[in-house]
């Protein structure tokens, strides 16, 4: 490292100091800063890396293909932020929110902000722990960079969406809601499950299963959709985060190969984690499935298409044949996930629709054009299985009987999603699995969640299931209004989109922009007195 230090460079005899190769620099600036403990044992210094049964013989075999060093890291991260913030500024100054495809597009962002952004922050915390606890300097440094990345992601996401929070509902209280709202316990408990595992399991859970296997499904089609729906800032933060994500994916793949190469005894342990964390992660990405197919006014890629491209082709076709060389087979229950690709978003958005009175977003029945898109995207299932029910919902709504679910849902003990999933292979009958542990009865949504529960019932019996907690009186009171108050839900945050605060504002603002005839006050009166439909009709007549 001496050759690059500026204060010593001048003292060298002749000519410029020779620039180190990228590999040599990486080695000098990460590995060579490591030391062997002398007054404590290695085990005392790194007490968390043995109890999971993973055997590591040589930490120096860890390789970081990105050869990232601190100076390069900060230089590129700063550049990424600079690009993002110039987009944010321009968008805010130019009233960019008015160029979105529709106000209801932001429902997807409300789910993202309250469901995903807090996970970025949780990842920041836990990778900082990894950066302290791993014995080898290679993984410690990679974890440190990822920790800082995750903080950047949380901050840039909050900053980006804060501009929308000035104009739209549902985003003002996302941190508290992440801890409290029923459906957000799905993402929160998933990450808590990983945080409370050992360091190697966490790396397989988040570094490998989430970052490598599944994160593409979350970010890539979604950010592409942001671009398609006029949401430039989200597209920019998404791609900015994704540029780090490819480093995280590489770390995730590196970690699994490193562990597998270190000792054959590690293979069955890792396989069980891959099995567990594939299913845990897959269930969480169901929320993304319904965002892609239902919450985007201009859909861009269906869940089915994204799943085929980013999971079946890239993971089942590329990654798993590669991992077979290490003795790893594709995850258990993956066949069910593949079968579900034709159905998943329809079940989950139905659930969101029926429970949106108790959430931080609004929903509405997809319009005819959107249903036509769904029908084309899902030629084998939508018309046959799902269209009729949406027509029925629309009819009820037109009769003034907009349907909301009459009660609280039964939840799966592991994934915490309402038990909406049908049996594998039979879309007509919902699945119910049960398990007993120390005399207590537990309900589970699938073979996958039951298998996970029965591996560690002493862990999953501690789950904080929102419905059970409401009934224990821990969530503000016994009635839905009590609970909504405890969630911090305000007027306009929840329920039906048509006629909501956001939709009314959207109609009002867009009319003001186009108002050549000076009819703003007339429209305003119609909006207040007769509602959104009448106001829109009036605008069209003018």
């Amino acid at each position: 490292m001496t050759t690059t230090a500026p204060n010593q460079a001048g003292k060298k005899s002749a000519g410029k100091p020779k620039k180190l190769s990228m590999k040599a620099r990486y080695s000098a600036l990460t590995r060579d800063l490591d030391w062997e403990p002398s007054y404590v044992s290695e085990q005392e210094m790194y007490p968390h890396t043995q109890y999971e049964g993973i055997k590591i013989h040589d930490w120096s075999k860890w390789d970081d293909p990105f050869r990232l060093t601190v100076d390069a890291y900060y230089r590129y991260q700063a550049e990424k932020d600079k690009r993002l913030y110039s987009v944010l500024d321009g968008f805010a100054q130019g009233q960019g929110h008015l160029t979105l495809s529709e106000a209801k597009y932001l429902n997807a962002m409300k789910v993202f902000l309250s469901g995903v952004t807090p996970l970025e922050y949780a990842a920041n915390r836990h990778f900082a722990y990894m950066a302290r606890q791993f014995n080898g300097p290679g993984p410690r440094f990679a974890a440190l960079c990822q920790s800082i990345d995750e903080m950047r992601h949380a901050q840039t996401e909050i900053h980006t969406l804060s501009n929308y929070n000035k104009y739209y509902s549902g985003m003002h209280n996302f941190i508290q809601q992440h801890d409290r709202v029923w459906y957000l316990s799905v993402t929160k408990s998933y990450f808590d499950d990983a945080l409370s595992a050992g360091p190697f399991e966490f790396m397989i859970a988040i570094g490998f299963s989430f970052e490598y296997l599944l994160t593409n499904l979350l970010f890539v089609p979604f950010m592409s959709a942001a671009s398609f729906n006029g949401d430039l800032p989200t597209m920019t933060f998404g791609f900015s985060a994704q540029s780090d994500e490819s480093r995280h994916m590489t770390l995730g793949l590196e970690v699994i190969k490193f562990i597998l190469e270190q000792d054959e005894a590690n293979v069955p342990i890792v396989q069980e984690w891959v099995d567990k964390w594939f299913w845990r992660g897959y269930r969480v990405t169901g929320i993304v499935a319904q965002m892609l197919d239902y919450q985007l006014p201009r859909p861009v890629m269906s869940w089915k298409e994204a799943f085929e491209l980013y999971f079946e082709q890239q993971m089942m076709g590329g990654l798993f044949p590669d991992l077979a060389l290490y003795g790893i087979r594709p995850p258990k229950h993956v066949e069910q996930a593949i079968w579900e690709k034709d159905h998943l978003s329809h079940w989950l958005h139905d659930t969101f629709y029926q429970f949106s009175h108790a959430a931080n977003f609004t929903t509405t029945v997809p319009d005819e054009e959107h249903m036509e898109w769904l029908s084309q995207a899902y030629p084998d299932t939508f018309d046959e299985l799902y269209r009729d029910k949406w027509e029925e919902m629309r009819k009820l709504d037109e009769e003034g009987k907009r349907f909301t679910y009459p009660g609280l849902p039964q939840l799966c003990q592991v994934c915490q999603i309402p038990m909406t999933f049908p049996q594998h292979g039979n879309p007509h009958l919902k699945a119910q699995f049960t398990s007993e542990y120390e005399g207590e009865h537990f309900n589970l949504c699938s073979d996958g969640c039951k298998w996970i529960f029965e591996r560690e019932p002493e862990k999953y019996r501690q789950a904080w299931l929102p419905v059970h907690q409401i009934y224990q009186g821990n969530c503000g009171g016994p009635t839905i209004p009590d609970v909504l108050k405890w969630y911090g839900v305000q007027e306009g945050d929840n329920g039906e989109y048509v006629g909501s605060v956001d939709q009314k504002n959207w109609v009002r603002w867009h009319h003001q922009i186009e108002d050549k005839l000076g009819t703003s006050s007339e429209i305003e009166e119609t909006l207040e007195a007769e509602g959104v439909h009448a106001a829109v009709k009036k605008i069209e007549e003018a």
Binding site: P47, D350, Y405, L408, Q410, Q432, N443
Partner: protein
């Protein structure tokens, strides 16, 4: 496989145990022959509630909220996977309906 930890992990209690509900318990109601409801529902009821009360105060309001059923239909029942025969005057507890069990119903 037990949860791996640096200490005895079995000490953490359930957050859903029946004891946390006093003399009450949770029961799930699941319409098996129709998927209008997105999922089954969970209700909190006294263990000593009679079937008749359960039917009137929990089941009927639920089933009649679906636009596809009125509550006047005749239903057959399952308790978890097994066929189940309710008796109006018996309590849920006496009928073997316990905490977090699922009562499935379908048109008879």
């Amino acid at each position: 496989m037990p949860t791996l930890a640096l200490y005895d992990y079995t000490v953490h209690p359930s957050r859903s145990a029946q004891e946390l509900y006093g003399d009450d318990m949770l029961v799930n109601i699941w319409q098996k022959d129709d998927n209008f409801f997105a999922c089954p529902c969970a209700v909190r009821v006294p263990k000593a509630m009679t079937w008749q009360d359960f039917y009137q105060t929990q089941f009927l309001p639920y089933v009649s909220a679906s636009p596809r059923t009125t509550g006047d239909e005749t239903y057959a029942w399952h308790l978890d996977d097994a066929p189940f025969t309710p008796e109006d005057s018996k309590t849920l507890d006496e009928l073997g309906v316990h905490h977090k069990h699922t009562l499935g119903f379908f048109k008879a």
